[in-house]
Symmetry: C2
Subunit: 351 residues, 2 copies
């Protein structure tokens, strides 16, 4: 298992969670425990600000180490989710010290030598000595899980997505800020003056508003989040010329990202045929019965593992076009779960 001769416990793997006190780090710890990942020793690392405290892992208290000084010697898997700058600085060091790094930031995703993996879509991208494996953007992961069965059966010609992304995409700080500005609004402070400062996570108070901006703007007018969805989708699906457009929008939901997706296919596909494909697809749960008002919702998907699909309909004029609605918990499948699944895939191959 280990590279460069690191020790492996008989009872499992040594796993480091980097950014262990953040929203995604907390979810990583929960998912490792829930799924019974074979952890011999769990190490928790974070910035100096959070170091010294403790986190809970499967009922046991674990001391949080300072990432700046922590050694990765003896660690088999390091799951990084502490931001791009810490990943750029410490992930190469962790690899040097013998780790496989599964990195949840955008730092290495588009590096041609770095596998960018969604296990339901491109497990074959995990090479034998991977070093760093990148975990894709949250909005991208759920979309490619949904698109893959359509691509295999009917071929993708064009994808247009508009997102409805929750506050938790900006971490616990984003959730807290949204709840705070919502309370202010309900208390009559409909201007939310406190949320307009330079300390805030969102550019405007998210309470009862809709913000068509996620991440920063590029010269093209697209945001980095939108370009991530375009470029990462091409890389993961192995379709370098795929025609993809994205509009990424923040809405006042706590958790889960929702997506309105239009896909032009190379062949006609009915809603029923698409249902059949998705029924058999890994990671997908259909929730699509208009007669009982059954469709995926942000709150319904929160805390679940699936990529939920509903509102499936063939275009009224274009038999090769489908429209559908896709919701997933951005902290789980969109981040922590996908990272743990990558580790599980490596363990499975080496068993």
């Amino acid at each position: 298992m280990s590279q460069k001769g690191t020790q492996i416990s008989d009872s499992g793997y040594n796993v480091a969670v980097v950014g262990a006190t953040g929203a995604v780090g907390q979810e990583m710890l929960a998912i490792l425990a829930e799924r019974g990942f074979p952890v011999a020793r769990l190490r928790a690392m974070a910035s100096a600000r959070s170091a010294g405290g403790t986190i809970d892992f499967g009922g046991k208290s674990v001391q949080v180490e300072d990432l700046q000084t922590a050694s990765f010697e003896g660690v088999d898997f390091a799951l990084f989710s502490a931001g791009s700058t810490p990943s750029l600085e410490h992930a190469p060091r962790a690899v040097e010290q013998g780790c496989i790094v599964i990195d949840n930031t955008s730092a290495f995703r588009m590096n041609p030598d770095t596998p960018l993996v969604v296990p339901e879509v491109n497990p074959q991208a995990i090479v034998d000595q991977p070093g760093i494996i990148a975990n894709p953007n949250c909005s991208t992961i759920q979309m490619v899980v949904a698109l893959q069965p359509l691509a295999e059966a009917a071929g993708l010609e064009r994808v247009i997505v508009s997102t409805y992304q929750s506050a938790s995409g900006a971490g616990q700080k984003g959730i807290d800020e949204m709840l705070k500005t919502t309370r202010e609004y309900l208390d009559g402070d409909t201007e939310n003056p406190t949320a307009a400062s330079s300390d805030t996570t969102f550019a405007y108070p998210l309470a009862f508003d809709v913000l068509p901006q996620i991440d920063s703007f590029l010269d093209s007018g697209f945001t980095r989040e939108e370009v991530k969805m375009i470029e990462e989708t091409r890389k993961i699906m192995g379709l370098s010329g795929l025609d993809v457009a994205a509009t990424c929008v923040r809405v006042p939901a706590v958790r889960s990202h929702s997506e309105s997706i239009t896909v032009d296919l190379a062949k006609p596909l009915s809603a029923e045929q698409a249902h059949a494909l998705w029924s058999d697809a890994p990671g997908v749960s259909l929730l699509d019965d208009p007669s009982t008002l059954t469709y995926p919702r942000a709150r319904q998907a929160a805390g679940t593992d699936a990529t939920w699909i509903g509102r499936v309909r063939q275009d009224l004029g274009r038999p090769k076009t489908l429209h559908f609605w896709c919701v997933s918990d951005n902290l789980r499948k969109g981040a922590a779960l996908n990272a743990v699944q990558i580790a599980e895939e490596i363990v499975r191959r080496r068993a």
Copy 2:
């Protein structure tokens, strides 16, 4: 001015607002006063439940009449916004009694003999003896105001829209329910049990959720709201074969509808060229400067008259495709303002 010889006051027109106590009716009264529409006498009508009370019009108290028994004799303009059933029952009677009816419901919109009008787009559809003029769906109005300059300059080939519609699209009851379930959620009642009853406006509590359903479902899997956007856009723009697809979604905003629109044109158009077209377009206000995080938002647009446009960008691979973000106050331009503008257009022609 009047049909069938109704009396017209020297100082203006007799105007009836039907559904005067509702969210749109209240906005109609405010806009008639704000814009100085030449009102000789204002009549307020509503269901028996609301009749007998009073509303305010320009600082004066007006008694609310029971629509069931109220006469339209002597009324020049009747602005209906009390729901489709009251419109179907009483609008023809109002026309019989000499009114021009401007109807905000979907009751008559797709009737081939009924003009469906957005004054910035198709004022020519207002015929000389109109009887009933239909006011389009709120989501449709702002979209066609935005699309018309592009259609004239570059021709429309295909339109794909995903909406982010506020609670106020379901009236004051919708706003109240959303605020109530939000308070419950913040008080720790994250299941919102009270909102699951048959009395509720939304199928699920809207608090911190995203609901991909507006209006009821059709056999095609599309909702009535989505089909309204498709069919009404074709009728207003006079493009009977236009390729339009819509996905309509409720989000927890109080007021204003937002739309992510992708448009394929017959000719290439840069974002700068589109800006120039929209700068000169009636009813449009551009708000598009990524360098200062300037873009339209639901809260920013609330209470304003414009159709706000931002996030304008040419597709990264398709020079004939534009993506943009469009926000407007659904109670104003999406309903009450457009209705009053129709009346103003008729007054202007007869001056």
